[in-house]
């Protein structure tokens, strides 16, 4: 219908192209109702023959509009983690069982002005051997026609690590990050966004529970995220696509691309299948599962000659390709209640890498992620 200019629907399309007749497409206005949400997350990962980590995480989040132009938002999560402690190379048997609780909370206050927003957020997270505190500042500024929005952000985090095995004590890690972004409404149906983030970190990056895990004490990261969302009038559906380039001083370079199709259906249902592909190079100190002939597992060849060098067998620092398939189904029960279910499967393999050779000798790593939630607006 919209393709035929001689129908009334074209009038609305033309009207929506006028400057300043609708608020910013990104809803930069203060929220107009309070909201509370409960979510329950279950995560499991595995390698062939080994069930690894299982996480159960209920969480509560809330959003409260205050005095018309302020909002206050927060969340609280309780994780319980159990399972075999993550084994690095799949050939290394890892005997120790572990279980832990993590508590995390965050709070964000935002002030909405006519063409700008300012927000301050703080977060903390704690486990028995790990504490993290962070704060962040963010501001957005929109053009007069609200079609362009610039965002700047600044954040600092302090992590304290105090492992029970006493291998190190009172270690910490400090991270500072900056973000710069722009969002542009191209047409009533197209929004593009570019975000650049740089982070500088200093401190303890190693895994204290691994015998051979010595990483540099600094890590500088940068990431460029590009997004394009397109709305299809005929189907009433949206396609959300993204590409992210990541680079850090451990020499990990990664490319991630994703697409999600959000399809509203009758009776308040929405279904959103998604796909994401990630490929990365290995950190320069990652070592393949080939061990020193004298020391054997888990020591890399040449360890004796340079015991103070950098080594890690963490599969997250290996070269690999990974695919995530997901689906989200949500249902608006009535004006104020919404329920959703999200299910994702993830698989990582050295041989799935594109743009280089994947790390050899690692068993495929699989994870699945399931989340159910309800939100209520007041």
């Amino acid at each position: 219908m919209l393709k035929n200019p001689s129908t009334g629907a074209a009038v609305l399309v033309a009207a929506l192209a006028l400057p300043g007749v609708v608020p910013a497409a990104r809803a930069e206005a203060a929220p107009d109702s309070a909201q509370i949400g409960f979510k329950y997350l279950n995560y499991r990962d595995s390698q062939p023959g080994l069930k690894r980590v299982s996480v159960d995480a209920p969480s509560v989040s809330w959003l409260l509009p205050v005095a018309g132009s302020w909002s206050l938002a927060g969340s609280y999560t309780l994780d319980s983690v159990s399972g075999a402690s993550p084994r690095w190379h799949s050939s290394i048997s890892s005997a120790s069982r572990m279980s832990d609780f993590r508590r995390a909370a965050d709070l964000r206050v935002t002030k909405y002005l006519a063409r700008s927003t300012f927000s301050f957020g703080t977060a903390y997270s704690t486990e028995h051997d790990y504490r993290s505190n962070s704060y962040s500042l963010q501001a957005t500024f929109s053009s007069d026609d609200n079609n362009t929005t610039w965002a700047v952000g600044f954040g600092r985090a302090l992590d304290r690590i105090d492992p029970v095995n006493g291998i190190v004590a009172d270690e910490q890690k400090r991270t500072t990050d900056f973000m710069l972004g722009v969002t542009q409404v191209l047409t009533p149906n197209d929004i593009v966004q570019a975000n650049l983030t740089v982070a500088r970190g200093r401190g303890y990056y190693s895994d204290p529970y691994k015998q051979v895990d010595q990483r540099p004490r600094e890590r500088n990261q940068s990431a460029l995220m590009l997004r394009w969302n397109h709305h299809f009038d005929g189907l009433g559906a949206s396609l959300r696509t993204s590409y992210r380039y990541y680079d850090d001083s451990f020499d990990v370079q990664a490319h991630t691309t994703s697409a999600e199709w959000v399809q509203p259906l009758p009776r308040g249902w929405t279904i959103a299948p998604s796909i994401r592909y990630h490929t990365q190079s290995a950190a320069r100190f990652y070592y393949d599962p080939v061990y020193d002939p004298l020391l054997g597992e888990p020591f890399p060849p040449g360890y004796l000659a340079n015991p103070a060098g950098f080594y890690s067998a963490d599969h997250r620092l290996s070269a690999f390709g990974a695919l995530t398939l997901g689906i989200k189904v949500s249902k608006a029960i009535d004006k104020n209640w919404n329920a959703d279910l999200r299910y994702e499967i993830y698989e990582q393999r050295g041989s799935w890498r594109i743009g280089g050779t994947g790390s050899p000798g690692l068993a495929p790593f699989r994870a699945r992620f399931m989340q159910v939630g309800v939100t209520h607006k007041f």
Partner: protein
């Protein structure tokens, strides 16, 4: 503006509401001044004064409104034409008499969106005596702009009503819709229906706003650019659309479509309510079938 204007803001303290209402009214005045065809120094005044002469450079907002006028012309098969205001030279509604064929033909020769030359930001009316006029949607545009300004400032309850063409931006503070009476086209003190609006634009075009009657025939101010004569079919058409400007343009085009309006409205995707030639009320599904319809206030 020569009409009753109302900015209603609820759910805020009095001082904030007053300050924001002032800003909204200021925005309406800005548009009125900028696009008034009565002011020689307005952009419309300057374009019209240069008709048949040199192009006039326009700012971005004016270019956007020109684009909108172009889309309306295309969507209405040429019925909505912002150059058709010159037909008023032939029709004098105060004196209640029919124009001569020569007068109508002379005015019609100056009507035609195709005679508007556009090159980027430059606009030129190619025939001396031509005029453009944003009166066909300027008021609704102002209502949308003022409402958007209020939404951006955090207002969540209220509406901007410029002489019956309005844009609502949220329910009453208790969550209930705003209820607007639709003017009865033949009884000045009555309504034909009342419509509930929470968000969006509501606009009415009718043959009762400016007209004269002669020998039992009503001649209204909505003139068909093809014939130069008033339209004759609907008494009024009200449209409910996401924006006031879309509602206003759809109701005007529907009036111009005359007997073909039903099909046009049905395909527009908007909700509508029309008063037909014999005063009968017809509407899209779910509009106007509320118990308060016909209330005499």
């Amino acid at each position: 503006m020569a009409c009753g204007c109302e900015v209603r803001i609820a759910g805020l303290d009095e001082a904030s509401a007053f300050r924001l209402a002032q800003q909204a009214i200021e925005e309406v005045r800005r548009i009125e001044n900028k696009y008034s065809r009565y002011r020689a120094d307005s952009i419309v005044g300057r374009i019209n004064a240069a008709a048949g002469d040199a192009p006039v450079q326009c700012d971005g907002e004016t270019v956007s409104l020109m684009d909108y006028a172009d889309a309306l012309h295309a969507s209405s098969d040429g019925l909505f034409d912002i150059t058709s205001g010159v037909l008023r030279r032939a029709w004098d509604f105060r004196r209640a008499r029919l124009p001569s064929v020569a007068d109508v033909d002379a005015a019609r020769a100056l009507v035609g969106w195709q005679h508007v030359e556009r090159d980027g930001r430059h606009v030129r009316l190619s025939r001396a005596g031509m005029e453009i006029d944003f009166g066909g949607f300027g008021k609704e545009y102002a209502a949308d702009r003022a409402a958007t300004l209020l939404i951006d400032a955090g207002c969540r309850h209220g509406f901007v009503n410029l002489g019956g063409d309005l844009r609502a931006f949220g329910p009453q503070p208790d969550g209930s819709a705003w209820r607007f009476g639709i003017q009865h086209p033949r009884q000045a003190d009555a309504t034909v229906a009342s419509l509930d609006v929470v968000h969006g634009g509501l606009a009415t075009s009718g043959d009762y706003e400016r007209y004269f009657e002669l020998d039992g025939v009503r001649y209204c101010h909505i003139l068909d650019p093809r014939t130069g004569w008033p339209v004759r079919y609907w008494q009024s058409i009200t449209v409910l659309a996401p924006l006031a400007i879309a509602a206003g343009s759809l109701s005007t085009i529907a009036m111009l479509k005359q007997a073909a309006a039903g099909d046009f409205l049905a395909r527009s995707g908007a909700a509508w309510l029309a008063v037909g030639p014999r005063g009968e009320v017809v509407s899209s599904d779910g509009v106007g079938d509320d118990p308060a319809a016909g209330t005499v206030e």
